[in-house]
């Protein structure tokens, strides 16, 4: 699952930047400056709230100079991958998103194993699944978590009102304790308004899959489609068959227009999605609200700070990363850009507890997203989870495009998943 930074627009634009070569400036390996100062280059995307932290850290450590390099989401990850292959040129510290963590986790040798750098004491501070996702199968920890997305259900209270549904966020949450009741609410909405309810079947498949005890792969990296994936696939097929889906691919121009043309009334949304809604449909202020996600737990996106092993100032980089994930700084980042910390202790901090988002009808977003992130049970993501997910999502899209009947789709999904798992 991808996590687009708040500032980043459609994925089309993302590809545009990649193709035009705007992959962030070139980075030389962090080398010691003339006057004995250490330069640390930090690569990330969007705005991770580091500008103020950089100044603070440099003031406290006069011998350290921090260079921030913010680029485009996909380009930064691909750039890191290329530099790792080349063996030089990687930043001293690189952010890695959930959508890419498995890929880099399986190259753990190319990163500093934080277990050797006193990382073990951090395990108890993190959400268990967050800690596990960045850990290689042989027990190397390549990164310390910074933020998580959480996952809630954003809904249009004005459209709900027109459809005769409750609009209060607690009442709406009670409407859908599980996904079946969610689909029933959708049927009511569609019958009443003649409009579609959800944006796409894939945005139902992914949250349901994340709530299952086992995902695409078991811990021995064997594909198993009959458990979690089957459950999630059936939910998405049910929704498509009931005519709930507007069949819009996320982050595409059509999808953005869908916001403005009221083509869907609910949207599975992580914390960072609010920024996207706000940018896409600024005139819908106060028309959106947030209810809990059916099934209780969820997450979409979130990142880690990692340290490529090829760097020259590893110890200084480790110190800086540990400082960045310390509670004060994590709260500071939450206040600046709204990135939700991945350490559950911080969810009790008043800054998170009392935070209300004006655009979303003053919903207490800090509390809501923290609860969904804390409720999520850890799930092992296999080495091939990324390509397998894309393959199954494509099959769901085929059903939405009318190329495939929903009754035949599961067999195709299994076949495609097997192909992706063996690719």
């Amino acid at each position: 699952m991808k996590r687009l930074g708040k500032a980043s627009a459609a994925a089309g634009l993302a590809a545009a930047l990649a193709l035009t070569g705007c992959s962030g400036q070139k980075l030389e390996g962090g080398d010691k400056g003339g006057s004995g100062t250490i330069t640390l280059k930090v690569a990330f995307w969007g705005d991770m709230g580091l500008d103020k932290l950089k100044a603070e850290y440099e003031a406290a450590h006069p011998n350290v100079k921090i260079v921030l390099n913010s680029g485009e989401y996909n380009a930064q990850h691909e750039d890191l991958q290329k530099k790792l292959v080349a063996g030089s040129g990687a930043p001293d510290i690189s952010a890695i998103d959930e959508g890419f963590i498995v890929q880099f986790r399986s190259q753990a040798d190319k990163f500093v194993n934080l277990m050797d750098k006193g990382g073990a004491e951090y395990q108890s501070k993190y959400l268990p699944w967050k800690w596990q996702e960045s850990m290689s199968p042989d027990g190397k920890q390549i990164g310390l978590g910074t933020d998580v997305g959480g996952l809630a259900m954003c809904y249009r209270s004005d459209l709900f009102k027109k459809a005769g549904l409750p609009t209060d966020r607690d009442a709406v949450s009670k409407l859908w304790p599980d996904w079946d009741s969610f689909i029933n609410v959708g049927k009511q909405y569609v019958a009443k308004t003649g409009k579609k309810f959800v944006d796409s079947g894939t945005n139902m498949f992914n949250p349901v899959l994340a709530q299952q005890p086992v995902g695409f792969f078991d811990t021995s990296d064997k594909l198993q489609m009959d458990g979690g994936p089957k459950v999630a696939f059936d939910v998405s097929m049910k929704a498509i068959d009931a005519g709930l889906s507007a069949n819009l691919a996320s982050f595409q121009p059509n999808w953005d227009q869908g916001f403005k043309k009221d083509q869907f009334a609910v949207l599975a949304c992580p914390a960072w999605m609010i920024g996207h809604i706000q940018d896409t449909a600024p005139d819908q202020k106060g028309k959106w609200d947030i209810a809990s996600i059916p099934g209780g737990g969820g997450n979409w996106g979130g990142s880690w700070w990692t340290i490529p092993a090829q760097g020259k100032n590893i110890d200084a980089a480790v110190d800086f990363v540990k400082w960045m994930v310390a509670p004060e700084q994590q709260i500071e980042v939450f206040k600046t850009v709204g990135n939700l910390p991945s350490q559950p202790d911080l969810y009790k901090d008043p800054a998170v507890l009392d935070y209300k988002k004006e655009f979303m009808s003053n919903a207490p977003t800090g509390q809501i997203f923290a609860a969904t992130a804390a409720n999520l049970k850890p799930q092992y993501l296999g080495k091939k989870a990324g390509p397998t997910r894309v393959a199954v999502e494509d099959v769901i899209t085929q059903v939405q495009q009318g190329k495939l009947k929903s009754a035949d789709a599961w067999a195709v999904a299994v076949k495609e998943a097997e192909k992706a798992a063996n690719s």
Partner: protein, 326 residues
């Protein structure tokens, strides 16, 4: 005999012999070696940025190199190539690439020929027209493709709006990305739009070198404009036609940007929900950077390289026939 008497005596001749030998050597060096020295930078750069990657790619294609399984590195022999032969994704991508290639190259060059023929007449604001047709070529491909992908959108797209004007797809708007034929047409349209003007200008410059009296003679013999185009113009600009055919073959078979950005989910590089429009270049990118299988991706690149060589050769041969021998 008087001439020999005018020569200086050997005694005086001796000292300048040395410099003249040097000069002779310099002269020879100038004639024989300097051209190579002047052309050398190109070949040096080509060796570094052209030849080395090709050779290195060949080496990689014979190895197992997976980024997600670093332990498995090693020689693989021709395993990657054997896998290629049985990979339905590869054949599907090859089919797509050729389909889009035919849909783009053939109309593209024909239309370019006709446009060039029109521009070759006396027109008002001639320069304006000639620069105008080059504008699509000057537009960055990413920018134009983004616009086209909105143009071919399912809901509220302009292409579907035009179709609805003629009474097609009002209830169920055409999902351009869903089927092979529609996605191919959409992508070929983008390619054609971009390259027609460029090729037309190439043809135009060649056409202007054709002597006018040939046309006059043909006109006297009763040949109409269409016949003149095919019997005089095309044969006489044949070298340029061969050049454009080879260039568009290379470009068409390496098609990447357009299908990539036309995709609903560009990051996955799958070329549609069922790989309807995944081209080989796109598949290579997916295998290398999404599936993280660099060895296999290198084998695919080499296969593509060979395919392009063969197809460009065939096309050049065919085009030469079209021109003169009939």
């Amino acid at each position: 005999m008087s001439l020999t008497q005018l020569r200086p005596s050997p005694h005086h001749e001796a000292p300048p012999v040395e410099p003249s030998r040097t000069r002779l050597w310099l002269y020879r060096f100038d004639i024989r070696a300097i051209p190579y020295v002047f052309i050398a930078p190109f070949f040096l750069l080509f060796a570094i940025f052209g030849l080395f990657p090709i050779v290195y790619n060949a080496v990689v294609s014979l190895r197992t190199w997976r980024l997600d399984e670093p332990d498995k590195d090693g020689w693989a022999g021709f395993a990657n190539f054997t896998k290629l032969l049985h990979d339905s994704d590869f054949w599907n991508a090859l089919y797509n690439t050729f389909g889009i290639f035919l849909l783009s190259t053939v109309p593209q060059l024909l239309l370019a020929l006709i446009v060039a023929n029109l521009l070759n007449r006396k027109l008002r604001a001639q320069t304006w027209w000639r620069i105008g047709i080059l504008l699509p070529y000057l537009t960055p491909v990413v920018a134009s493709t983004l616009v086209f992908s909105v143009f071919f959108a399912r809901d509220n797209g302009m292409a579907n709006w035009f179709l609805s004007l003629v009474g097609f797809g009002q209830d169920h708007p055409l999902d351009w990305r869903a089927e092979k034929w529609s996605s191919w047409i959409a992508i070929a349209t983008m390619v054609n739009w971009k390259w027609i003007g460029y090729n037309a200008l190439l043809y135009l410059s060649a056409m202007q070198a054709i002597p006018k009296d040939v046309y006059e003679a043909a006109a006297v013999d009763g040949a109409g404009p269409w016949r003149q185009l095919w019997r005089i113009t095309v044969p006489m600009i044949q070298p340029v036609v061969v050049f454009t055919v080879i260039l568009s073959t290379i470009g068409g078979l390496q098609l990447f940007n357009e299908p990539m950005m036309f995709d609903e989910n560009p990051q996955s590089a799958t070329g549609g929900s069922a790989h309807q429009f995944q081209t080989i270049a796109q598949l290579i990118y997916k295998v290398g950077w999404k599936d993280l299988n660099l060895g296999y991706a290198a084998a695919m690149s080499w296969a593509l390289f060979l395919i392009i060589l063969i197809v460009a050769g065939i096309n050049a041969g065919l085009t030469k026939r079209i021109g003169g021998d009939r």
